[in-house]
Amino acid sequence: MKVVVCIKQVPDTKGGVSFNPDGTLNRAAMLAIMNPDDKAGLEAALRLKDQYGAEVTVLTMGLPKAADVLREALAMGADKAVLVTDRVLGGADTWATSTTIAGALRNLEYDLIITGRQAIDGDTAQVGPQIAEHLGLPVISYAQDIKVEGDKVIVERLYDDRYHVLEAQMPCLITALAELNEPRYMTPGGIFDAVNAEITTWGRADLKDVEDGNLGLNGSPTKIAKASDKVRKGAGEKVTPDSPDEAVSYIIGKLDEKHVI
């Protein structure tokens, strides 16, 4: 059984968000990490490796430094790594990104493709289902449990108020939720091996059955009209009462004034 996991390197938006003196986001100062949903997808694949001896390949698209997350994946136990990087692929929206990744996946053998549900930088949740669409595969998003039976996968698919137990014919694509599992740590020995491991690097020329017009910034149907750091609502009043009594009177006064009570 062969599993390909698509992963993305993202800035860590949790906790340590850093701003430049002019108020813009300081991306350079933010730690680059493996996207959490993708990491859960990788863990799911590694469990298939533990259980069924699946071969796990990790694939990412990004700048050359995105190789770092591939090495992390190798140190966790993935078998092979592919980096798709090319200047002409830059500025891609989800359409162009999914087109690119589908073009790379056409070169690989797979029974199962796993992606994260969404990346914490874009939060779109689009690339997984779009890859499946480009490859003509069944897609199961929001997976919270994955089992393999013969040539079928049995997946618990989460909705807002329920879950469905779905069965799909492989090959298929699954998008994983961070809640799916607790990803394993790397091992020290895994790290020492991963640093020297070979990473397959592909550029535009290696993408299969993909038109130039569907790649990069020009191949992206969505265009950014404006991007800015979020303007927050201004601060209101702030009081430092001398006693709890005073604090309570203040709040009650405001609730009364606004007809809440």
Binding site: Y185, M186, P188, F192
Partner: protein
């Protein structure tokens, strides 16, 4: 002179830090108060290979170097000194002598499960009457047919009751050396559960409270002849060699304690307000932080250098890392004690309360100046090298 870390060392640092924050830190206060050995943490560390970091893969280890191992002990100790010493005693004091002096059979039988973390290791040299002075040993081993018979006791043994495999030193005879009659000391591998091998009192310690520190008692304890480690009579050399390596582990523990206390304190002084401003804005605080950070950095360079030197030794046994290890331990232990004490002071009254980590770190730090060779012993080792 290259002071930058390689890619693999940066990555293992990230790993150890994340593991320590998520798995070790949440337990640190609780296990200290309850004097409870963190078995669950040891099991997790075993799963991820932390119990055999500098051990070759063919013996069940991770195939990493001494620096990666030192960084592991350092990062664990930043959040919990006890967890740091569990790994250090297991790796440096039990696995290392078997790996270095053991036969192939001994390595397969003992190092493989130890490095995989299926078994835990300990080291018994110290006796009630013999600490720094190894010649004061009273424990005896007598060959009787195909078995060695051990009698005596060992004290202050880290991982004492929790370990499965023990490297034990005992007197096997007398030799004449430069006209003096000296005790002949040999090393043995003893398994838990061997008849005649029992545990005495559990020590009630000032710090590293969750570490299992016990007295080991041997009463006509019979072990197979093949459990002699190395050559008969080479026990003193094996012990000294092992302690050289152990000192790198303890130096890493001390370094971690100092770094952990400093990091905690930096956060604290940014938040704690007195006279209307954060105490970090007072020059006294600032200068103390500056001095502490400088000393911690110096200690770190010595510790990493000693680890590097041990890796050179592994490639070329003519290299000695004894002096580097002694300097690293001397410096890191004294820095740990000084820094944790000052950090408690900067915390004021809160620093004296158990809810604040620096209180525990200060108690934990003290032992680093004492075990695996006191600071005085380190000075003897260093000065002896200077004056020879």
């Amino acid at each position: 002179m290259d002071f930058s870390l390689s890619k693999e060392h940066e990555m293992v640092r990230t790993l150890f830090k994340e593991f320590a924050e998520k798995e070790v830190k949440p337990l640190a206060q609780e296990i200290d108060e309850q004097h409870r050995f963190p078995r669950e943490t040891v099991d997790k560390m075993a799963k991820y290979g932390f119990m055999g970091i500098p051990v070759p893969k063919e013996y069940g280890g991770q195939g990493c170097d001494t620096l990666a191992y030192a960084m592991c002990v350092e990062e664990l100790s930043k959040v919990c000194g006890t967890t740091g010493v569990i790994v250090s005693a297991h790796t440096s004091l039990c696995i290392d002598p078997i790996l270095t002096f053991g036969s192939e059979e001994q390595k397969q039988k003992y190092v493989v499960p130890l490095a995989k973390g299926e078994k835990l290791g300990a080291f018994g040299l110290t006796e009630p009457g013999a600490g720094t002075d190894a010649q004061g040993q009273q424990t005896k081993a007598v060959l009787d047919g195909d078995e060695w018979v051990l009698n005596g006791s060992k004290c202050f043994i880290t991982n004492g009751k929790e370990a499965d495999v023990y490297v034990i030193f005992a007197v096997t005879g007398k030799v004449e050396k430069r006209g003096r009659i000296m005790k002949e000391i040999s090393a043995f591998i003893v398994e838990k559960g061997t008849p005649g091998f029992t545990f005495g009192t559990k020590e009630n310690k000032m710090g590293i409270c969750a570490s299992s520190t016990y007295e080991l008692i041997f009463t006509d304890c019979r072990i197979p002849k093949e459990n002699l480690l190395g050559q008969q009579g080479k026990g003193f050399n094996i012990a000294m060699h092992t302690l050289d390596g152990g000192r790198i582990g303890i130096a890493s523990q001390a370094l971690g304690l100092a770094e952990g206390a400093l990091e905690t304190t930096i956060n604290y002084v940014k938040e704690r307000k007195q006279f209307g401003k954060a105490i970090g804005q007072f020059q006294n605080t600032q200068f103390q932080l500056a001095d502490m950070a400088t000393k911690v950095e110096a200690a770190k360079l010595l510790v990493y250098k000693a680890a590097r030197k041990k890796d050179e030794y592994k490639k070329d046994p003519k290299v000695s890392y004894s002096v580097e290890a002694a300097m690293a331990k001397l410096c890191a232990a004294e820095v740990a004690m000084e820094v944790t004490t000052k950090c408690v002071q900067l915390h004021g009254g809160y620093g004296y309360i158990k809810e604040y980590d620096v209180e525990r770190m200060m108690r934990d730090a003290k032992i680093t100046e004492i075990y695996e060779g006191t600071s005085e012993v380190q000075r003897m080792v260093i000065s002896a090298a200077l004056l020879k």
